[in-house]
């Protein structure tokens, strides 16, 4: 059987790969994809913790992951709507293009 640390290390790695992507990419959609990576890392963590702490019975982490999937679906839908709008208005989907909206 796989030791539980493996899951955690995997999730940590995935998380920071996502962060790395978020920090380096300049395309808005690419950034969104990186965020999905981060979210997945967290979901893995939840599932693994649930399995570790409650081998039988309660499903807290399980449902946390489930809801997290739902929320991320909603989040990415709205984000994509915004990105499309930004693209329509600025004719570019680079982050820098919306910098002039900051104040």
């Amino acid at each position: 059987m796989v030791p539980v640390e493996f899951y955690f290390v995997l999730s940590a790695l995935l998380f920071f790969i996502g962060v790395f992507g978020f920090v380096t990419r300049r395309n808005l959609i690419a950034m969104l994809i990186s965020i999905e990576l981060v979210l997945n890392a967290v979901d893995i963590n939840f599932a693994a913790f649930n399995r570790m702490l409650f081998p039988d019975g309660q499903l807290e982490g399980f449902f946390m992951s489930l809801f997290s999937i739902g929320v991320s679906a909603a989040e990415s839908a709205v984000a994509i709507a915004i990105i499309i709008n930004v693209y329509r208005n600025f004719h570019s989907d680079q982050v820098n293009s919306i910098e002039n909206m900051k104040y």
């Binding site: 059987m1 796989v2 030791p3 539980v4 640390e5 493996f6 899951y7 955690f8 290390v9 995997l10 940590a12 790695l13 995935l14 998380f15 920071f16 790969i17 996502g18 962060v19 790395f20 920090v23 380096t24 990419r25 300049r26 395309n27 959609i29 690419a30 969104l32 994809i33 990186s34 999905e36 990576l37 997945n40 979901d43 893995i44 599932a47 693994a48 399995r51 081998p55 499903l59 399980f62 449902f63 992951s65 489930l66 809801f67 999937i69 739902g70 991320s72 679906a73 909603a74 989040e75 990415s76 839908a77 709205v78 994509i80 709507a81 915004i82 990105i83 499309i84 329509r88 989907d93």
Partner: protein
């Protein structure tokens, strides 16, 4: 099995964030999602894995691909991104430091070493259903309803944000 999945996930993730073409990034994301779904199977959370595949892999990734295609021809052709070196180094440093911190936390906590994962039972479907729609302790009808309203709000919000504005007079 875990090692294979971990390899797929990490490899795809790295490719996903480093590839220069946005379409490829989306494709690698799909692989990562499948890998994560595999992990859930491994944990005997079949329902979660199914949800992961249907919502993430089936829904969200499709949406990304559509969005990429909508955003423009130039992007559709595979937009080439110019990655700046200093930013990559900066990102590296941040990520590595963060990773180091997390690992430090892992090491400092004793519970990690205390237990290995036991072989779990597969969670029966009726348990999930009851938990999802029950209102007792450890039952989740409130978040469930909340998320349904939330999704509705997001649909409306998405429509309003993405709607083409009327031609100004």
């Amino acid at each position: 099995m875990f090692c294979i999945l971990a390899f797929i996930i990490l490899g795809s993730a790295v490719m996903c964030v480093t590839t220069k073409k946005i379409m490829r990034a989306a494709t690698f994301l799909l692989f990562v999602l499948f890998g994560v779904a595999g992990l859930y199977f491994l944990l005997d959370y079949t329902y979660l894995a199914a949800a992961q595949i249907s919502i993430y892999a089936g829904g969200i990734t499709m949406m990304y691909i559509f969005a990429i295609q909508l955003v423009g021809k130039r992007t559709l052709q595979g937009m080439v991104e110019r990655l700046r070196g200093c930013r990559i180094i900066g990102g590296m440093i941040v990520s590595v430091i963060g990773l180091a911190t997390v690992v430090l936390v892992f090491l400092k906590n004793s519970f990690i070493t205390s237990s290995a994962l036991t072989d779990g039972e597969e969670v029966p479907m009726d348990v999930i259903g009851n938990a999802l729609l029950g209102s007792d302790k450890y039952q989740y009808v409130l978040p469930f309803e909340f998320i349904s309203v939330f999704l509705l709000a997001c649909i409306i919000g998405g429509i309003i944000v993405a709607r083409k504005e009327k031609e100004t007079k």
